[in-house]
C-alpha cells in the first residue's frame, strides 16, 4: 500500500518538475508564427531563425563566450579556495567557507545592484569582462562545494606517502591531489557553465546591449514579441545542459572506479 503511494507520489513529483519543459518543447518545431497550441504543422524554421537573425545568433555566441570565461575563472578561484580551506593553519575556516558560499543565498537582485555599482567604479560596466566577472561570483560557490567534497574523499596519508617517496609539495599536488580531485573539478565546471547559461537577473544589471546572453534575449523577446524562437532557444539550452550533465556523470564514473579504493 505504502509502496503504491510512494510510486504515485514519485511520478507526480517528476511530472510536476518536467511538465513545464514538456509543454514548451514541441512548440520549438511549430510552423506557425505564434507560441501556442494547437500546432498546425512541424518545421525547423525557428531554429533557422536562431542561426540567421543577428540578435539571436549574437546572443548564443555571447552566452558561449561569457559561459566559458566565467567557468574558467570560477574553476580556478573555486579550486584554489577549496584547497586553501582544506589546509591546516587557516584561521576561522568555517567562517571563511560561509563567506565564500554567500553568493548562493544572497538575492541576485542585491548582488546585481552591488556589482553594477562596483563595476562602474572600476570602468568595467557593460563590458564582457564585467559580465564574466559577475557570473563567476555566482559560480564560485558551486565549484568550492564540489571540489571540497572531492578533496574530503582523498586520504591524507596518500599525499604523505607521495612526499615520503620524494615528491615536493608541487609534485604531490600535480601527481596525486589534483588527479584525485579531478571529478570534483569537472562537476564544478559543469555547474558553473550551466549557472552562467541561465543567469538572467545579474545580466540585466551588469550587461550592456553588446553582452546580451541567450537567456537575457529570451527574457526580453518573450515580453516584446512572443515568437516560437523562444521555444527553440529553450530547447537549445536544455540539450546543452543535458550534454554537460552527461559529460560530468561520465567523467565521475570513469574516475570513481579508480578513486574508490
Amino acid at each position: 500500500m505504502l509502496r503504491v503511494a510512494q510510486a504515485i507520489f514519485g511520478v507526480a513529483a517528476a511530472l510536476f518538475l518536467i511538465l513545464p519543459i514538456v509543454a514548451i518543447l514541441p512548440l520549438a518545431f511549430t510552423s506557425s508564427i505564434f507560441l501556442n497550441y494547437p500546432i498546425p504543422g512541424y518545421s525547423l524554421r525557428w531554429f533557422n531563425e536562431l542561426g540567421q537573425i543577428a540578435h539571436w545568433r549574437n546572443s548564443i555566441v555571447n552566452s558561449l563566450i561569457i559561459g566559458s570565461g566565467a567557468t574558467v575563472l570560477s574553476v580556478v578561484l573555486g579550486t584554489l579556495a577549496a584547497l586553501g580551506l582544506r589546509g591546516r593553519g587557516i584561521p576561522f575556516p568555517n567562517l571563511l567557507r560561509t563567506i565564500f558560499l554567500l553568493p548562493m543565498v544572497v538575492p541576485a537582485v542585491v548582488l546585481g545592484v552591488g556589482l553594477q555599482i562596483s563595476l562602474a567604479q572600476i570602468g568595467l560596466a557593460s563590458s564582457y569582462l564585467g559580465v564574466i566577472f559577475s557570473h563567476a561570483v555566482l559560480c564560485v560557490p558551486f565549484v568550492i562545494v564540489s571540489v571540497s567534497t572531492a578533496l574530503q574523499g582523498i586520504n591524507p596519508t596518500v599525499e604523505r606517502a607521495a612526499a615520503s617517496l620524494g615528491a615536493s609539495p608541487t609534485r604531490v599536488f600535480r601527481r596525486v591531489t589534483m588527479p584525485l580531485a579531478m571529478p570534483g573539478i569537472v562537476t564544478g565546471a559543469v555547474f558553473a557553465f550551466a549557472t552562467s547559461l541561465d543567469e538572467v537577473v545579474l545580466t540585466l544589471f551588469v550587461a550592456g546591449p553588446n553582452q546580451r546572453t541567450l537567456a537575457r534575449q529570451m527574457f526580453s523577446s518573450i515580453r516584446e514579441n512572443i515568437s516560437p524562437a523562444v521555444a527553440a532557444a529553450a530547447l537549445l539550452l536544455i540539450v546543452g545542459t543535458l550534454l554537460l550533465a552527461l559529460l560530468a556523470a561520465y567523467t565521475r564514473r570513469r574516475t570513481a572506479k579508480t578513486v574508490e579504493a
Binding site: 586520504n155 606517502a161 612526499a163 615520503s164 617517496l165 615536493s168
Partner: protein
C-alpha cells in the same frame, strides 16, 4: 658502534598535551628496532617526526651524524610504509612502484626493468597493470613495501604495516620482511602494538609508556629482565610478588615468606615487586624459593595447561606442560622457583 639514527632529548607537545617526553634513542645501521606500546603512547608521533611530517617541539633528530630537523619529508629519503598502505588509487601497481624513481629523475628506460624486477621479486609481476583496489590486502601490502624499497632508501619506517592482515598472512609477511631486512641490510623502525610480532622480528624492542621509553633491549632482555612493573606486565604474562627488601638478596613478601632474589641493589626497607614468569614456576622442588599454594582452576590451552593458584592473598598463574603429572582444583602444591628467574624492581 656509532648511531645511525639518533634522537636527542626529543619532546613533542600538541597544545597542552605532551605526547613524547625527553626521548633519547639510538638506532644502529642495519638494525631492526620495534617500537612497542599501548595505544596513544606516541609511537606514530615518533615515526612521523623521523619522516618529517611532524616537527619536534624540542630536541634534535640526527641521521648518520647530521641533523635532519630542518629537512622536509621529501628530502629525507626515508621509506615509509603506512598502516593502510596509502597506495595511489589512480595509478596502476607498476606506476605506484615507479613513482619514487620518477621523483628521483631516473630515466624511463631504466625505470621499467627496475619496477618489473622489484615486482617479480614479490611475485606480483603479473599484477603490474592492475589498480590497487583490484588487489587483496596482502597484495596491496606487498606493493606498498615494494614501492618503499624500490629506490633503496637508507631507512624504512613502518607503522603497524601488518595490522589489517589476518593471522596467517601476517606471519607470512613477518617472515618476508625479516628476510628483506637481512638480505638488503636495511635499517628498519617498526611500530607495532602486537608484542609477539615485536618479539619474533626485532633485534631490539623499545617499549613505550606514555611517551617515554619504559625499557629498550633485545627480546630476551625485555622478557626475562623487565626493569619495571609496566614492562613486566606489558610483555607476556607474569606473577608480581610485592614485598620489602630485607638484605641485598632477600625480599620479605607481604604473605610473610622471605624469598631469595638476584642481587638487585635496592636498600633494605625499600618496597619492591618481584616478577616471576608463569613458566618459571616449578612443581619439582628445584630452585631456592618455595611457596605453598592451592590450585583454584586448571584451564586447558591445547599445548599446555594453565593453573590458577592462591597463596595466601596472592593469586598466581603457572604453566604446566602436557605430559606432566595431572593436577586438580583444590589440591595443595609446593611451587618452587630459582632466584635467577626473578626480576626485582621498585613497587
Amino acid at each position: 658502534m656509532t648511531a645511525f639514527i639518533e634522537l636527542r632529548d626529543v619532546s613533542k607537545t600538541f597544545g597542552q598535551v605532551t605526547v613524547v617526553e625527553g626521548l633519547n634513542l639510538e638506532v644502529r645501521k642495519g638494525e631492526f628496532l620495534s617500537l612497542l606500546g599501548p595505544s596513544g603512547s606516541g609511537k606514530t608521533t615518533i615515526l612521523m617526526m623521523l619522516a618529517g611530517f611532524e616537527g619536534a617541539t624540542s630536541g634534535d633528530i640526527l641521521l648518520d651524524g647530521e641533523k635532519i630537523d630542518h629537512l622536509p619529508p621529501y628530502r629525507r629519503g626515508m621509506g615509509v610504509v603506512f598502516q593502510n598502505y596509502a597506495l595511489f588509487p589512480h595509478m596502476s601497481v607498476a606506476e605506484n612502484v615507479a613513482f619514487p624513481l620518477e621523483m628521483r629523475g631516473v630515466p624511463k628506460s631504466e625505470t621499467r626493468p627496475r619496477v618489473k624486477a622489484a615486482l617479480d621479486r614479490v611475485q606480483l609481476g603479473h599484477l603490474a597493470d592492475r589498480r590497487p583496489d583490484q588487489l587483496s590486502g596482502g597484495q596491496q601490502q606487498r606493493v606498498a613495501l615494494t614501492r618503499a624499497l624500490v629506490y633503496e632508501p637508507k631507512v624504512i619506517l613502518m607503522d603497524e604495516p601488518l595490522g589489517a592482515l589476518d593471522k596467517k598472512l601476517r606471519e607470512e609477511m613477518q617472515l618476508e620482511i625479516r628476510e628483506l631486512h637481512r638480505r638488503l641490510g636495511l635499517t628498519i623502525i617498526f611500530v607495532t602494538h602486537d608484542q609477539s610480532e615485536a618479539l619474533t622480528m626485532s633485534d631490539r624492542i623499545a617499549i613505550f609508556d606514555a611517551g617515554k621509553i619504559a625499557q629498550i633491549g633485545t627480546a630476551g632482555e625485555v622478557y626475562d629482565r623487565p626493569q619495571n612493573r609496566f614492562v613486566a606486565e606489558f610483555i607476556g604474562e607474569t606473577n608480581l610478588l610485592d614485598g620489602v627488601v630485607k638484605e641485598p638478596a632477600a625480599v620479605e613478601l607481604a604473605i610473610a615468606t622471605t624469598i631469595v632474589a638476584p642481587d638487585h641493589g635496592y636498600a633494605a626497607g625499600s618496597r619492591v615487586s618481584v616478577s616471576i614468569r608463569p613458566e618459571r614456576l616449578r612443581f619439582d622442588g628445584s630452585g631456592e624459593n618455595r611457596l605453598e599454594a592451592t590450585i583454584s582452576d586448571v584451564v586447558y590451552q591445547g599445548d599446555h595447561l594453565r593453573l590458577h593458584l592462591d597463596a595466601g592473598t596472592l593469586s598466581l598463574v603457572a604453566r604446566l606442560e602436557r605430559g606432566a603429572a595431572e593436577r586438580h582444583p583444590g589440591e595443595t602444591v609446593t611451587l618452587s622457583f630459582a632466584a635467577a628467574d626473578c626480576s626485582v624492581f621498585p613497587a
